[in-house]
């Protein structure tokens, strides 16, 4: 990497090199048998260069020929976009606690053990309806640039996941667990999952009309997606966002604070710096309902004249090879801050409503405008504070800037403690529901 940086400097460029290596294994069981195992060892190296106000990029999976990589970046620079930023100088000591050698080398037997433990905990449901998976991942990221940055991130993580599937369907209730050196399976979470599953087995009809809907982590992401799409610097730069000129304005219920804090993320996702080497920090883009401003990467920070926010990540909506993606504004693992009601209290507040456990079609609709029109996958019907069944052919629709003004309660802790998501349950009033 040092030699590549030196080559770029000699070409009169400022440069940044991003290097990543990951190793992961995953095992999946269905109905008590292993149905899939997969392993992946991926590495890659991306370079960004800036000369005379233009940027060029290139990447490779195998850094065998440094000059060839630089030549491709120089070719891309000829047609490249105009940029107004410089690569930052960042000094951060590596987070040594996030790496565990035994996880890096763990394999399928360990993953299988974790799956069996989860299945045993949910034993009352019988194995025929259970799907489980478990795995481990290790990631190393190093960023160097000609401003003097040379920072390293190394982390390992293990995850476990269980789903109880409704008979004759591919829909079910699920819970996940994530830890840095083991899988912190929480028996209480699995017990609650089993209870919810059993009480929601009958298929029921929700009917049409406005009703209370409780969003859980599996559905809340669809709501948060619309907010973060509109609040990102890319949308501000293009002018296509309903949040334009609304900084400082109260646009959501005062009960809602939308936060991204990579230092609190589960181990394998925890990051002290973003993919451009900018230090991460707690960032609330909606604070007690008030829009506080955009989040950005370096490119848009300079275009919009705002400070970088440590949210430039090489991530795409549909995955993609990390080194091949450009750093884009990314509100990583953004979620609502916890509130004051227990889950049981929130259930008690529902006279007739639906728990949206998961969504179908969250990625369709006019996302930037805040519109959603999604299927329940599944939705659990609640009557007088009790789950009475799962909704057949139900959809809900609305606009997030409308429905998020009608927040009844926010849960006092993450719905799935120990999972990779920290979302609390959020109960909304007057959501439009349709169903046969």
């Amino acid at each position: 990497m040092e030699k590549l940086l030196e080559l770029a400097s000699k070409s009169g460029c400022s440069a940044e090199i991003y290097q990543q290596r990951t190793r992961s294994v995953e095992l999946t069981r269905r109905e008590g048998r292993v149905v899939d195992t997969s392993a992946s060892i991926q590495s890659g190296c991306a370079i960004r260069i800036i000369r005379n106000g233009r940027m060029g990029t290139a990447y490779t999976k195998n850094l065998l020929d440094r000059q060839a990589l630089l030549d491709r970046a120089l070719l891309s620079l000829e047609n490249g976009p105009e940029v107004e930023f410089e690569f930052p100088r960042t000094v951060i000591e590596p987070d040594t606690g996030a790496w565990h050698d035994k996880v890096e080398h763990s394999g399928f037997p360990e993953a299988q053990e974790a799956c069996v433990e989860l299945e045993d905990l949910a034993g009352s449901l019988g194995r025929d309806c259970l799907d489980t998976s478990a795995g481990s991942a290790a990631e190393t990221v190093r960023i160097m640039n000609t401003s003097g940055t040379d920072i390293l991130h190394r982390s390992t993580g293990m995850t476990g996941w269980i789903s109880a599937r409704y008979p004759g369907t591919e829909t079910g209730l699920n819970a996940g667990f994530a830890g840095e050196s083991g899988i912190p399976v929480n028996p209480e979470v699995v017990r609650n999952l089993c209870e919810m599953y059993t009480s929601s087995l009958p298929e029921v009809r929700a009917g049409d009309g406005r009703m209370q809907v409780m969003f859980l982590p599996g559905s809340l992401y669809g709501i948060i997606w619309r907010l973060t799409a509109a609040a990102g610097a890319r949308a501000f730069h293009s002018g296509a966002t309903p949040l334009k000129d609304r900084k400082g304005e109260s646009v959501l219920s005062g009960k809602l604070t939308l936060v991204s804090d990579p230092s609190l993320d589960p181990p394998v996702a925890r990051r002290a710096f973003d993919d451009e080497g900018v230090p991460t920090r707690r960032l609330a883009i909606f604070d007690r309902g008030v829009f506080t401003g955009s989040y950005t990467n370096l490119f848009y920070a300079a275009k919009l004249g705002i400070e970088p926010t440590g949210t430039g990540f090489r991530s795409g909506m549909w995955g993609g090879d990390t080194v091949s993606l450009a750093p884009e504004p990314s509100f990583r693992n953004g979620t609502f801050q916890t509130g004051e009601a227990t889950f049981e209290e929130m259930l008690g507040m529902m006279d007739r409503g639906i728990i949206a456990f998961g969504l179908l079609g969250a990625h369709s609709g006019n996302i930037i405008n805040g519109d959603f029109s999604v299927g329940f996958n599944p939705g659990l019907l609640v009557e007088k504070g009790r789950i009475v069944g799962r909704v057949k052919d139900g959809m809900m629709a609305g606009n997030v800037y409308d429905v998020l003004k009608r927040v009844v309660a926010v849960q006092d802790r993450p719905f799935n403690p120990g999972s990779s998501r920290r979302d609390p349950a959020v109960l909304l009033d007057g959501v439009s529901v349709s169903g046969k």
Partner: protein
Amino acid sequence: MLDTLDRMLKKVEADYADIRYERMLTSSADFIRDQLKGVDSVSTDGFVVRVFRDHGFASATVTRKEDVPEALKLASEGATVMGRSGKTVVLADAPAVSDDVEPDLNGDPSHIPLQDKVDLVRKYSRIMMDMPGIATTNVGYSEVDREKFFVSTRGAGIRERIVTLAIGGEAVAKRGDLLQNIRVSVGGADGYHRLLNRDDEFVKRGELAAKLLDAEPVKAGTFDVVLNPSMTGVFAHEAFGHFSEADIIEDNSSLRAKMALGAELGSEAVNIVADSTMPGQVGYYRYDDEGVPVRRVQLMKKGVLTGRLHSLRTAGEFRESPTGHAVAEDYRYEPIVRMGTIFFEPGEPGFQELVDRLGDGLYLCDAKGGQTAGENFTFGAQYGYAVKDGRIGPMVRDINIMGNLFTTLKNIEAAAGDFHLNERGGCGKGQLNIKSGHGGPSILIRGMVVGGV
């Protein structure tokens, strides 16, 4: 390269093993309005190995050649763990093929300068940007030129090149706080010329985005609907197609029983085909990533289930013939069962006759998004029209439909004689696959749940 791969495979102890090496040259140029956001032209590669032993079957993927032995070791371990858990995999027989396949291209993009591609995208972006009501546009060029080498211990040795091209994005119209967008895409797998002289398509999409500003949100409820070919194609892919992929139902005993060949699942108007042999389509290829030649499969005939799509593993499990549908998106993935090109076959009636039969309801156009969970599906329409007494009326927006596959298949009353296939693919099953084509005629469905705003 085939010899090198063959030598690598010789080091593994297995009942069967294969290895795929894939080199991908991707070029892209992205514009926001008429500002170039980024341009790339890069080459990447990687290896995928699979091992069948102890009745288990597992895979591993690596970037570096020196990691291939580690990949073979991990795949061997995975196969053994699977076999010991009680899952018994049977791989179907398939002839071992040796072949070298070059695509038939009208304009090989590797011979076109990058600057020409950038200029073409800028032109299309400006066409939409200059139209009244349009606030912004995102338009990008995407070229994926892959060269795949496949070797198996059964003796297969295949090289195939596939070139997938697209120019696509969206036009966003704005009035006050209201934002509306319409997607646009042109492309295919038959060369660069398909991308040229497509100005009319971009004009049409820009006009639609502007018109959406005056459209009313659709009211939620249950409606009779006519789907246009784009919507029909997504229905064929999302609602039905994924169920015809044998790996989806393989380990779900109750779904497997429902999807027995010969089952009468749909109305007489439902005829669905998967055909990746249609040249030029985004879903076109000659051999799948198990070295099996792909063949046309009639999935449903007059509402009766007549076929399904297979990998070697699922064909063995179902005791049916392989169909050549085990496809991986790229060098980072093992192959899974995928559709390629899937479509509804057209019927007899003209389009207006279909709308007359609809009477009152909605005419829904141009799909966006789509997802399934078992037999339940949902997908959106970019725009639509209210229909009254067989007359197409005012434009409506914010449309998503949801349904149950088996109920909906019975409620399809007719398919029109029109027919159109999409030009750009995108299927998110496990790994985003851009070689996913679909289409069909306009179809009439009774009683769809429509979620408005």
